[in-house]
């Protein structure tokens, strides 16, 4: 924050900026490729030029300079009184806009991406709400109540957090088959509701809530249920925000289990849809990157809006010395 700019500060900023550019470049490349002109007729040679697959790569969507180039020409022609020529250039401007967004247009017309988007969104919301309710209830009693079996339950839950999730793939697959849940969203929602990270997080947070507040409500004659909703839940709001965001992110991005239980294209979530999109269009990168952009935008927005809760969550659930 100092006013003087020392050489060491210069080095610091250079390293950080270069590394940040490298880090964000792939994400930028998703959007740049999605919005790149697919092909465009070169006026001088009359040949079709492919921009997505050009050597060297075009580092930004070529539609932007092309659009302004045509705009300039259209204005020039108009000033010269050549309306036919102006109209020609305006037509080309429209074509450039259409071409720029053609990846998204194809995606929405010829795939079920709307359905995938809707499926991802509603599954993520249902699981998030469910987790918030049941994990807060569980975390509350594990932190604030003394009852036989409490420690056993807590250590059982913490212990399973270390087990790699892949170990349950086969048994879960068999269970889902036996219960006829293959190709249903229940097969995703129920196991997600069983995730234990939230119980751990809520318990850790609840430990910091003073007992007096809870006892006071009880002395006033409030029932357990009422105490929970009117005293405990409002006090736990910061932890709830954190847990909600992490749950939403995990469910939205979840991939391995959904590709196992979903076969019907109408039931896909976005990551599964993207995988099939890639399997079917291995080389059409404009289309693939458009799909990737559609899946990336919601999480980027959530992150920008709730950045501080992401940071709080990592440090809350993290190391306890």
């Amino acid at each position: 924050m100092g006013k003087s700019f020392t050489p060491s500060k210069f080095v610091t900023y250079t390293v950080l900026i270069v590394w940040a550019v490298i880090s964000l470049l792939p994400l930028y490349w998703v959007f740049s490729t999605a919005l790149q002109l697919s092909e465009y007729e070169d006026e001088a040679t009359g040949q079709k030029v492919s921009y997505v697959e050009s050597v060297p790569p075009q580092l930004y969507p070529m539609g932007i300079p092309k659009y302004f180039e045509e705009l300039g020409k259209a204005n020039e022609a108009e000033e010269a009184g050549d309306t036919a020529k102006a109209a020609h250039h305006e037509e080309r401007m429209d074509a450039i806009v259409d071409d720029t967004f053609s990846g998204f247009a194809t995606l929405f017309q010829s795939t079920s991406i709307w359905k995938w988007f809707f499926n991802s969104a509603y599954i993520a919301i249902v699981v998030t709400l469910g987790i918030l309710i049941i994990d807060t209830m569980a975390g509350y009693v594990l932190a604030k109540k003394k009852f036989p079996g409490r420690n056993l339950i807590f250590w059982l839950i913490v212990g399973t957090m270390m087990i790699p999730g892949q170990i349950t793939l086969v048994p879960m697959f068999m269970m889902v088959q036996n219960f006829n849940l293959m190709d249903t969203h229940w097969a995703l929602i129920l196991p997600d509701l069983a995730m234990v990270f939230g119980v751990f997080l809520m318990r850790q947070y609840m430990l910091s809530i003073p007992n007096e507040l809870i006892d006071a409500a009880k002395i006033d004659g409030a029932s357990e249920w009422k105490t929970f909703w009117t005293v405990v839940v409002p006090l736990a709001k910061p932890a709830l925000a954190t847990l909600g965001i992490f749950t939403f992110m995990n469910v939205w991005n979840s991939f391995l289990w959904p590709i196992i239980v979903l076969n019907d294209a109408d039931l896909y979530t976005l990551p599964v849809g993207l995988k099939t999109l890639q399997d079917q269009n291995l080389a059409i990168f404009k289309l693939l990157m458009s799909g990737a952009a559609v899946a990336a935008i919601p999480m980027i927005l959530v992150f920008i809006m709730f950045q501080r809760y992401f940071i709080k969550g990592l440090t809350l659930g993290g190391v306890k010395e």
Partner: protein, 312 residues
């Protein structure tokens, strides 16, 4: 816990019975607690605990559509004797050995550079480095496949500036695994940076001031104070990164499919293939149990090493 009057007043002839009675009494008194826990416990038992135990059971069986057969340790023998498993294990180890230390070091380095900055720069860089972490690995893998494209990819384009000849990174067996390693190292360790920054914020300023008075320069203060005091964070991050590397899957299935040949076959991809392509449920479960045990051993060794060093 308040000892209930029942415990103190009962005749000494039936201590066993009265202890159970007292227990039941406390349980009844705290029945609300059990009700609050009920939904989570039902889900936890049905979708985590039972499947985990079941996985161990299946690993000793040969799965059949109508009836499964007990085969003892056959699946484990098959696992350890198969070349596919050796290759997958070695590939996973190679991936882990190169990515884990680099990811943690990069997180430490970047956090150390960010920490002394002003509030605005701090939150800017923290956000920039964390953003790729919130995007799905599916998206990241898809774009990197495009970045590594032989003819039109960004990666070869930048390498040519450095005078390195273009490679078909993902389709050559000697470069494919390196391509995946480079990608993992270049994805910023967002979680690590944030945790290190939190750790650095908790180190008391007075330590640095007294070191300064003793004539320690900036590097010495970092090496002698910051790094040792961040050891718990480092330990946690190594474990996290290790578990993540051992379970690498999404990149594999979307970028190489384990190929070319089996150059990028990893443990979880092998488990996935055994289970859902070959329908060898017993074998897949045995492989998953081995993965679990390896993860456990690594965790224990890691923990021991770092703590013993720290205590001397």
């Amino acid at each position: 816990m308040n000892p209930s009057p029942a415990t103190t007043n009962t005749p000494p002839t039936k201590p066993q019975q009265s202890r159970i009675k007292a227990l039941l009494k406390t349980m009844w008194k705290e029945r609300a607690a059990y009700l609050f826990l009920l939904p989570k416990m039902v889900l936890f038992l049905a979708f985590i605990l039972v499947p985990v135990i079941w996985a161990f059971v299946i690993s000793f069986q040969e799965y059949g559509v109508f009836e499964s057969e007990w085969v003892g340790v056959d699946n484990f023998v098959k696992t350890f004797e198969s070349d596919a498993f050796h290759v997958a294990l070695l590939n996973t180890l190679k991936y882990t050995v190169f990515t884990v230390p680099l990811q943690v070091l990069i997180a430490l380095g970047l956090a150390s550079l960010i920490h002394p900055l002003g509030r605005f720069s701090q939150s800017f860089f923290r956000g920039a480095f964390y953003l790729p972490t919130v995007t799905s690995m599916v998206i990241i893998a898809m774009v990197w496949r495009w970045v590594y494209n032989y003819r039109y990819g960004l990666f070869n384009y930048f390498l040519e500036f450095l005078g390195i000849p273009a490679q078909d990174w993902l389709n050559q067996s000697d470069t494919a695994m390196w391509a995946l390693i480079i990608m993992s190292v270049l994805i910023p360790p967002g979680v690590g940076i944030i945790m290190y920054l939190a750790g650095m914020g908790a180190i008391p300023e007075s330590l640095y001031e007294s070191a300064k008075m003793d004539g320690a320069n900036a590097f010495q203060r970092w090496w002698r104070i910051t790094v040792p005091l961040l050891k718990p964070t480092t330990l946690y991050l190594i474990m996290l990164s290790l578990i993540g590397s051992f379970q690498v899957f999404t990149q594999i299935i979307l970028m190489t499919g384990g190929g070319p040949g089996n150059a990028t076959e990893t443990l979880v991809h092998l488990i996935y293939k055994s289970a859902f392509r070959d329908m060898e449920f017993g074998l897949a479960s045995a492989q998953a149990v081995v993965l679990f045990v390896i993860t456990l051993i690594f965790g224990v060794i890691q923990y021991r090493l770092l703590y013993r060093k720290g205590e001397e």
